[in-house]
């Protein structure tokens, strides 16, 4: 096992080291796994052995937020409520750090093992989440392969950095929400060859940037939030004429690739790269 570990990345070594300290061989891999968070849904679908994953959330089937929406059609769906999940008799529940705490507590009180995953704020977190999923599902090798493929593709993308001064880009979505400089979106943006506006404004965490402030900051690219089905006035600001005068026709849209820490974030990077080439 160690031989394969040495050939892989540092992050993997750290995670595998943790895995080794837990006697993973003492218990068999869970056979009835239920996921109650969009991001753990997709990680589990990537990694689970056939028949191992019982159900994923409704959101996993929504192509406006999930990159694996089609794959999710093949799974049962749940609504993240303790009652239905308990009745499914899972031996492992996968949840995000910010998944409804009452649900998680109740499931734990009922004696069900719940594994919590941190939302990925960087590519390093993304690797760690994949490896953690591999470990809890007993699929370490598959996880290591996915991480290795991710690293190879990332290195190829980084080798092809566009020349010249870096233009400024900002994400901007409903109610004027802009992702912070320490976020998955920021790493996608910087890998694609842009500086993130949040970095220039000194905003580490996600925050609300008024339309006026965005227009005055005058970024080279505005990456708009993906607008959802139905109507919300909170999203109307994305149709504001001022934004269109500012961006011309250069605005990009945050596809589902931007939502979760999955290898698909590199598709988002490539999308920005090609968009950028088209604009020049």
């Amino acid at each position: 096992m160690w031989a394969s570990v040495r050939s892989s990345s540092l992050a993997f070594m750290l995670a595998a080291g943790l895995a080794a300290s837990v006697p993973a061989w003492a218990e068999p891999a869970p056979a009835r796994v239920v996921s109650i968070n969009l991001c753990t849904d997709q990680l589990a679908m990537l990694l689970a052995a056939p028949g191992q994953l019982r159900s994923v959330t409704m959101l996993a089937r929504d192509p406006s937020v999930s990159v694996l929406a089609e794959l999710a059609q093949g799974y049962k769906v749940n609504h993240g409520k303790a009652e239905e999940i308990y009745l499914d008799r899972p031996d492992l529940v996968l949840a995000g750090r910010y998944t409804a705490q009452t649900t998680v507590n109740m499931l734990r009180d009922l004696g069900i093992r719940v594994e919590i995953f941190e939302p990925a704020q960087s590519f390093a977190d993304l690797r760690a989440d994949i490896l953690q999923m591999g470990q809890v599902l007993g699929r370490d090798r598959a996880a290591a392969e996915i991480v290795a493929a991710f690293d190879t593709r990332l290195a190829q993308l980084q080798a092809k950095q566009p020349e010249g001064p870096r233009p400024v880009a900002a994400t901007w979505s409903a109610r004027g929400y802009m992702s912070g400089s320490q976020s998955l979106a920021a790493e996608i943006i910087s890998t694609a060859g842009y500086d993130h506006l949040a970095e220039r404004l000194g905003r580490k965490g996600g925050s609300f940037l008024p339309l006026e402030a965005l227009v005055l900051a005058d970024p080279d690219l505005v990456i708009e939030g993906h607008s959802r089905a139905g109507h919300a006035r909170s999203e109307e600001v994305l149709a504001h004429p001022a934004l269109h005068v500012l961006t011309g026709r250069k605005a990009a849209v945050q596809t589902p690739d931007w939502v979760c820490g999955l290898p698909a974030v590199l598709d988002a990077v490539e999308g920005l790269r090609t968009g950028q080439e088209g604009a020049q």
């Binding site: 409903a174 609300f208 008024p210 006026e212 005058d218 109507h231 919300a232 006035r233 504001h240």
Partner: protein
Amino acid sequence: MNRKLLAALTFAVLALFLLSLLTGVADVGPIRSLKALFWGGEGPLDIVMREIRLPRAILAVMVGGSLGLAGAAMQGLLRNPLAEPGVIGISAAAALGAVLALQTGLAATVPLALPGAALLGALLGVGAILFLAGAGGGTLALILAGIALSALASALTALVLNLSPNPFAAHDIVFWMMGSLADTSFTQVAVAAPVMALGWLLLARSAHGLEALTLGEEAAASMGVNLRRLRLAITLGTAAAVGAATAVAGTVGFVGLVVPHVLRPLVGANPARLLPASALGGALLVLAADIAVRKVLPGQDLKLGVLMALVGAPVFFHLIWRMRGAA
């Protein structure tokens, strides 16, 4: 006296309009801002002044004017100082109409469907109030009918927004109940203007009928006022003005209550003179509130309803105080 009052109000509206243009998160000097507004090109500050601040200030005047006018007209018709579109649930009914138009997608496909649906909601609201409280009904009937209509329309609005597939729709409940002019554009100005203009026209033409009505229905009828037509004009005019205002700014309450209350003594309680004064006063109040929300919490969307309730509640207390004195 009246001319002086209208001149003073007009001057104040112009002054606050200018101040509204100079209020925003960006700390830019007034001269540079106004230069960018009038002679700007496509620079960032020019866009901010022309596409963000100008339509917002114009909408504040339009929304405030409509609500002030509608409040004064409703109070004249029902001869009750509490008959205000926000208080008696007409705005809430208009909001329900607007939300239905938006969530069914009608607003995106049919031109003027948004203010039209809000007008229809408001019309049903005014109709329900007139039916339940009637011209002869007392204050108690009016308030009870208003509470019932408000509660019903607000609950249905919240229900529709919660049923929406859009995760941000539920957050919109605050906007529809408290009102805001944040991030409005000329799109909203164009959406509201035609329907509002219809409302203003109908209400302005009712001024003399309302004046005669102060003498009582029989006296007004004997003076040649067609009461049915007057009622119809005010109902439709109020629905159009309040509907269009609500469709773009949400429920902005208390404007039609506070403004006529303050201005009534200054115009000798004459409805014909109260209407234009209330329109200007409403514009003044909403402009002031919209400046204040940006000063109190710059860059955040503090809702207009918060400030309106702070101004409106004391007027209620004053009315109660006066009622106790009368009793």
